[in-house]
């Protein structure tokens, strides 16, 4: 009885991931080998990091459209700095500078977003959509549209290497997710974030500053986008303005399937990570099966719809009780 209750209280997303994973292992030939799994995890890294960042902004009832554009911008700027074809000739210093600039770019645009949203009281939807276009434009202007190649060998090793079956990139993504998990569950800021997302007014009257809290969420989201840029660049070994162009749906899909409320105040990082894994599994399974791209988006959309509604139905039941 007690175990049954415990099983019932597990969030829906874990069931989806488990069921889908087992089904894929059993029914999809070519899914059940280490190389495929490793590839799956590597591909999931960028999505996990981006989704974790955006998750914070959704928690306070907002959204961050900028992150996918920042992903592209950081890869081309960072890539061009550390490139062996660049002015610094791919030196170790260039590598470090490149990484630093990528994170700082994310931080900078996070600050711009946070500042605009909190100071001018503009909806995050409008602000981040505008900065997304600006960032995208900047990336195209910077590169003239061509991709950036010639990554130094140390960086290539980082992108391809692994400990046992755990790619370095996965370790970075898990690290980011872990930090975000701790921030949301264990820290003062995390508590303020949930409070502001649940009831902006009550938080304000209780001495929790919605302004500062919301600002920090966008800054962190920006930093996550910068880190995601590093992982993307390491994985692809080239920077491109096209990265992330179709990724926003996957980010929001991960967050929503994970049971996070778009109205704010409710949601767990761990579930968003699971959501990202689910979406990646769907992607790779459909790829292995050789299903055309347009079908993949269609099926993904359906699965997100079903998963989100199942989660909501369960939530309603909980509340009614």
């Amino acid at each position: 009885m007690n175990t049954l209750k415990k099983l019932k209280s597990i969030d829906a997303i874990y069931w989806f991931v488990a069921v889908f994973f087992i089904a894929a292992l059993v029914f999809v030939p070519g899914f059940a080998n280490l190389a495929a799994l490793e590839r799956l995890l590597s591909q999931g890294c960028v999505l996990i990091i981006l989704a974790c960042g955006v998750h914070l902004t959704v928690l306070n009832g907002g959204v961050d459209f900028t992150s996918t554009a920042l992903l592209a911008l950081t890869t081309v700027v960072g890539g061009s700095i550390m490139s062996t074809k660049g002015p610094l000739g791919g030196s170790a210093g260039a590598l470090i500078l490149g990484l630093l600039v990528m994170v700082l770019l994310g931080l900078g645009f996070g600050i711009i977003n946070g500042f605009s949203i909190t100071t001018f009281k503009m909806p995050s939807f409008i602000v981040t959509m505008a900065t997304q276009m600006i960032v995208n434009g900047l990336a195209v202007v910077y590169t003239g549209g061509s991709s950036v190649t010639g990554m130094p060998s140390a960086f290539a090793k980082f992108g391809k290497g692994s400990i046992f079956i755990f790619p370095y990139l996965l370790i970075v993504a898990v690290g980011v997710a872990l930090v975000m998990h701790i921030i949301t569950t264990k820290t003062l800021f995390g508590r303020q974030l949930y409070a502001v997302g649940t009831n902006h007014k009550a938080a304000l009257i209780s001495g929790v500053s919605p302004r500062k809290t919301i600002f920090k969420a966008y800054v962190l989201s920006g930093v996550c986008a910068g880190i995601a840029g590093i992982v993307m660049l390491a994985y692809m070994q080239s920077g491109s303005v096209n990265y992330g162009a179709t990724m926003f749906n996957d980010i929001m899909g991960s967050i929503i399937v994970g049971g996070t409320s778009p109205a704010g105040g409710r949601g767990k990082i761990a579930n968003t990570v699971m959501g990202a894994l689910l979406i990646n599994m769907i992607d790779s399974v459909l790829n292995i099966l050789g299903i055309p791209y347009y079908f993949i988006t269609l099926i993904k959309g359906l699965i997100i719809l079903v998963a989100a509604s199942i989660d909501l139905i369960r939530m309603d039941r909980k509340v009614a009780r």
């Binding site: 264990k186 820290t187 003062l188 800021f189 995390g190 508590r191 303020q192 949930y194 409070a195 649940t198 009831n199 007014k201 009550a202 938080a203 304000l204 009257i205 209780s206 001495g207 929790v208 500053s209 105040g265 409710r266 009780r321």
Partner: protein, 503 residues
């Protein structure tokens, strides 16, 4: 012997392991007004929700005009002729009166186009029926005062030609004149043969207006008797299950020097140099009629609404800037009148609510970032015990599932925990039952005893006279009178100032 319109027999209802309704047995006679009283959390809302088809009962029977009644949804209840007038108005403030009244079923022509003319005509008729013909059907709800919104809500209830109308605390936000009007309408409904259940915390109204009174306590109907055979002492005793000797607690405390001062507060279009001083350990009441500016004054000096000029001073130090966060940092606290909207995180646990304004004090060690969950639990346990908050587990139960009185105690717990020295209380006992009221008065007295300065806004003269050391009366955004305890407290005097009598 008049006919029976509605009969409830041994109704039970549980949520999980908590039995909210234990034994509800109640009869409502045709053309009668039945008053229903009970403490918050006694089960009134649950009982109404069972009647309204929102919850399904676990046991017992309901007979409507002699036939079994088992509503599966609010729609069923409406079709059966049962209508509800809620405490919290369910109107769309951005729509017109007509649109609100027809919101569930607008008359349409063959093309599906709404027939506005017909709607308007019906609305005019219905408004007239409740004596609210001064309201134009095209008015947007947001521009109507509370009293008139209540009338619209009532009109909505008679749209479907209801036979039984249940009023849930209909008078909480009404002025006296509006209240009179409401009772006029209720009586008119009664004359038309409709049966009415009238739920209220204001015993005086219940005694004056009903035919019968039923008392609900802990999910059980304790008594139902003719109003003419009931007396207030018995009813109160039945409600709380114990004797209330003192309605207001007394305590020994010392009042010190002036510690809190608001100087020449101005707000564009409202306040013009309005000042106030409060001494250490003093409870100052602010009385005023609806719209006198009491709530607005508190919100202004707490930085929630803009202040064009003026100073807020605590212990000789000016609080600058006047913003909520800074006011709180300087030892101020505000308990707003609408706890659900501005006081609580409803979907969050009691613990998360209680530690909300002292999050920083619950960090680990001397660190900046990490919360100390153990310390949070400790504080929460202490507060729920000290303030006697009824909960099965403050770490699990969400604030939204508590009764009104307990919710208000959670709001108080939040502030008592963070230990401020200036308390601004706006209608601290609004929608709270007798028993919980007493406990809240005790909490307020304790705050003053611990040398806090308390400013308390209330619409109940008696409450202010019972709790406060000094009462200021507000009229038209300025203070028009001041009365000191024991010397010149009189309800008539206070009311005289409130309606604009000379200082």
């Amino acid at each position: 012997m008049s006919e029976i319109a509605l009969e409830l027999k041994h109704i039970t209802k549980s949520f999980g392991e908590v039995q909210v309704l234990k034994d509800i047995t109640l009869t409502l006679k045709k053309g009668h007004i039945l008053g229903l009283v009970g403490e918050n959390g006694a089960g009134k809302s649950t009982m109404m929700n069972v009647l309204g088809g929102i919850y399904q009962r676990n046991g017992g029977e309901i007979f409507l005009n002699g036939t079994e009644y088992r509503p599966a949804s609010p729609k069923d209840a409406g079709a059966a002729g049962i209508a509800f007038v809620q405490q919290e108005l369910n109107l769309f403030t951005n729509l017109s009166v007509t649109e609100n009244l027809f919101i569930t079923d607008m008359p349409r022509n063959k093309l599906g186009i709404v027939n506005k003319r017909e709607m308007r005509r019906t609305v005019e008729e219905k408004l007239k029926e409740v004596g609210a013909e001064e309201i134009s059907p095209d008015t947007i709800i947001a521009s109507l005062p509370m009293g008139q919104r209540q009338l619209v809500e009532i009109t909505k209830s008679i749209m479907a030609d209801a036979k039984i109308i249940i009023f849930d605390e209909p008078t909480t936000s009404l002025s006296n004149a509006e209240k009179e009007k409401l009772f006029g309408i209720i009586n008119k409904m009664k004359e038309q043969g409709k049966s009415i259940i009238f739920i209220s915390h204001i015993l005086e109204d219940v005694f004056a207006r009903t035919d019968e009174i039923a008392v609900l306590r802990d999910g059980e109907i304790i008594s139902q008797r003719k109003t003419s055979e009931a007396d207030a002492a018995t009813i109160i005793k039945e409600m709380v299950g114990r004797e209330l000797t003192n309605i207001y607690p007394t305590c020994e405390k010392t009042i010190g020097e002036v510690v809190f001062e608001t100087k020449d507060i101005c707000q564009e279009g409202r306040f013009d140099k309005v000042s106030l001083r409060v001494r250490e350990g003093e409870i100052v009441g602010i009385f005023g009629l609806m719209g006198a500016g009491r709530t607005e004054y508190l919100r202004c000096i707490f930085g929630l609404d803009p202040m064009s000029s003026g100073e807020v001073i605590y212990r000789g130090k000016q609080i600058q800037p006047v913003e909520p966060e800074n006011c709180i940092k300087n030892g101020m606290a505000l308990i707003t009148e609408n706890r659900r909207e501005e006081g609580l995180l409803l979907p969050k646990t009691l613990r998360e609510n209680i530690v909300l304004s002292s999050l920083k004090a619950h960090r680990k060690g001397n660190g900046r970032f990490f919360m100390n969950a153990g310390k949070e639990r400790e504080s929460t346990a202490k507060m729920t015990e000290d303030l006697r908050i009824k909960t099965f587990d403050p770490n699990e139960q969400t604030a939204g599932t508590l009764s009104g009185g307990n919710q208000q105690k959670v709001v108080f717990a939040k502030w008592v925990l963070s230990d401020p020295k200036v308390f601004l209380l706006d209608e601290p006992t609004k929608g709270v039952d007798v028993g919980a009221k007493y406990e809240i008065y005790t909490i307020i007295q304790d705050l003053a005893k611990q040398n806090s300065a308390v400013i308390m806004v209330s619409s109940e003269v008696e409450e202010l006279m019972g709790v406060c050391d000094r009462i200021l009366v507000m009229n038209n955004n300025r203070f028009t009178g001041e009365l000191t305890k024991n010397e010149d407290y009189s309800a008539e005097e206070i009311m005289k100032y409130a309606v604009g009598g000379a200082m």
